[in-house]
């Protein structure tokens, strides 16, 4: 809804500024008067929560970097000294490490929201694709960050993830090994690796901030989708962003911060792995190496495949698939509210991701009710790809959607919406 600007400078000074750098006009049009569908629900507050999370990671990260030493011999102890000696260091570190998990929790809810309401469909394809890019950058940033404390999980996580590239050897001999050596700067993960990961861990969040700008810019062209998935048709369908959504976003942000605080103060190591409180040892791999919870479904897919190259391709493919969703979904209707069939497969998909996550968290030869988990993971992987590449295109063609409401206003206000606007 990039309509006409509604900004009128009130004072001489603001007029003077408006003619030279129309920043106040920009803020007014994008954050104050911006017409927003009147039916946005709780699931639309996660965009704001995500922006908050990025800010928290940047502020706490800059503070940590003031005390952290990116050297293989000193990194572990410098983090211990942040925990024990630096004033409030424990708080800042726990906010940062819990913050990464809260960030991913929010991004997953945000993404499932988009899937359910069909927010990736035309004309919002680029918003979705930029979102996938942000998700990728977040995973890279969190991975680099997780290496920094230089504990056992840091070291072996870095080894396994960088070794994913060595699978390229099976396509072009020696190229994969050359890439891993280049990434490490050594024959193995070591001091050189730690240093460059710190440099990149500092850099990427600022790149994410830039890409978030593009995400919101692209959002402000068509405006928000909404739970009904129908287009805004008249001014009656919308309310100004401020105060309606600034306040709604702030309210749910407070609840989110409450949850965040419960973890920081009562269970700061809830998301962590105790093995990472043991300094990195290049000679001993911990018996159960697992990634952070937010990467577990992908890890389960990697392990479900008994062949190295194919396993890595499946892992990468699971993420790359997300880019194609706007064209895989053939339905004319956006929101699953009006898609009785797709709705069920959507919830099955959500459960599938949880099952995959569970499989990824267990040991390699774990068994559940007599069934080796690896088979569960294989089924889960099949459903993951089947959902996007088969169900989405096919169901869109064969499903009969429920009738759509005439307008957002009519759906929200009932027949009074047909009365003239006030």
């Amino acid at each position: 809804m990039s309509g006409q600007s509604s900004y009128t400078p009130r004072s001489g000074l603001s007029k003077w500024i408006d003619q030279r750098l129309p920043l106040p006009r920009f803020i007014n049009d994008t954050m104050m008067t911006f017409p927003t569908p009147r039916n946005l629900n709780i699931w639309y507050t996660f965009g704001g929560i995500l922006t908050f999370c990025l800010g928290v990671q940047i502020i706490t990260g800059i503070v940590l970097a003031m005390h952290y030493v990116a050297n293989a011999g000193m990194a572990f102890n410098s983090v211990e000294s942040i925990m024990r000696d630096v004033n409030y260091g424990w708080l800042v570190r726990f906010i940062h490490s819990t913050g990464a998990s809260m960030f991913f929790l929010a991004v997953y809810l945000h993404m499932f929201r988009g899937l359910y309401y069909g927010s990736y469909k035309a004309p919002r394809e680029l918003i979705w694709i930029i979102g996938v890019l942000i998700y990728l950058l977040m995973m890279a940033t969190a991975f680099f960050g997780y290496v920094l404390p230089w504990g056992q999980m840091s070291f072996w996580g870095a080894t396994v993830i960088t070794s994913l590239f060595s699978s390229i050897d099976q396509i072009v001999p020696h190229l994969g090994t050359a890439i891993t050596t280049w990434l490490w700067g050594d024959f193995a993960v070591g001091d050189a690796t730690l240093n460059r990961f710190f440099s990149l861990h500092y850099l990427l969040p600022f790149i994410i901030a830039g890409v978030v700008g593009l995400h919101i810019w692209a959002l402000h062209v068509p405006g928000n989708n909404n739970p009904l998935g129908i287009d805004v048709k008249s001014p009656q369908d919308t309310v100004p962003f401020h105060p309606y959504y600034t306040v709604k976003d702030a309210f749910y942000l407070c609840l989110y911060v409450l949850l965040f605080a419960v973890f920081v103060f009562y269970a700061p190591d809830f998301f962590g792995n105790p093995d990472n409180y043991e300094p990195a040892n290049a000679l001993v791999t911990p018996p159960d190496i697992v990634p952070e919870w937010y990467l577990l479904p992908f890890y389960a897919m990697l392990r479900a495949i008994p062949q190295k190259l194919i396993g890595v391709l499946v892992l990468g493919g699971a993420i790359v698939t997300l880019v194609f969703i706007p064209w895989l979904d053939t339905s004319r209707v956006r929101s699953c509210r009006f898609r009785p069939l797709m709705k069920q497969f959507f919830w099955a998909f959500a459960v599938d991701c949880l099952i995959l996550g569970y499989c990824g968290s267990q040991g390699v030869d774990a068994v559940l009710f007599g069934v080796p988990l690896i088979w569960l993971a294989r089924l889960g992987t099949l459903y993951y790809f089947g959902y996007f590449w088969v169900l989405m295109p096919v169901i869109g063609l064969i499903e009969t959607p429920k009738p759509l409401p005439a307008s957002i206003a009519q759906s929200v206000l009932g027949d009074s919406a047909t009365a003239p606007a006030e």
Binding site: W156, T159, V160, T162, S163, L164, S166, Q170, T181, W182, L183, W184, G185, D186, F187, A188, V189, G190, A192, R196, A282, L283, V284, T285, P287, D288, I289, L302, R303, I305, P306, Q307, K308, L309, G311, G363, V364, D365
Partner: protein, 183 residues
């Protein structure tokens, strides 16, 4: 009119030429920024390590660090040697020896996995994604990698799981009957 055409071609030439020079220049300038991440000469300067074998009893394994990786030195028992010899190369997922002391295409016979039958020297890096496999575990009398379940036999040949290749045998030599130099 003629002068005008001439002008246009000269402009086209300049346009293409400066574009090409710029592209080559940008690529040349990018290289140092890429190559700086590769190991420096100081890191590449081959390091060696010597291992005393006298204290390693048959059936034992020691782990030493070499170039940042664990190195397995294992003293085979006669039974293990016999079992390894009995394996046909055709049953193996990876039929080549992966022995840096032999040609690249040497077959993965038990004998080709080392310099002397009773001694095994291996780089302890799982050929899947680089974890250190645990010795004396798994179904093949060798190593089990807990990361994603690959299994190796008593000569470090891959038998099961996502790992595509046998554990690598590094360049090494016997300085005496009880001493080796690796690297």
């Amino acid at each position: 009119m003629a002068a005008h055409t001439l002008d246009a071609t000269r402009r086209d030439f300049l346009y293409v030429a400066s574009g090409a020079v710029g592209a080559v220049g940008a690529a040349a300038a990018a290289w140092p920024f890429i190559d700086q991440m590769n190991p420096s000469a100081a890191v590449l300067a081959l390091s060696t390590v010597e291992v005393d074998l006298a204290t390693i009893q048959p059936g034992q394994q020691v782990v030493v660090k070499w170039r940042g990786h664990p190195l397995f030195v294992r003293h085979q028992t006669p039974k293990e040697i016999e079992a390894a010899d009995a394996v046909q190369v055709s049953e193996l997922p990876d039929p080549v020896a992966r022995n840096s002391n032999l040609p690249d295409n040497a077959p993965a016979t038990a004998a080709n996995r080392g310099l002397k039958k009773e001694w095994l020297v291996l780089i302890g890096v799982c050929t899947h994604l680089g974890c250190t496999p645990t010795g004396f575990e798994g179904d093949y009398g060798g190593w089990l990698c807990h990361c994603h379940g690959s299994q190796y036999d008593s000569t470090g040949r891959v038998r099961k799981g996502p790992a595509p290749a046998n554990l690598q045998v590094p360049v090494y030599s016997f300085l005496s009957d009880t001493r080796i130099k690796v690297g």
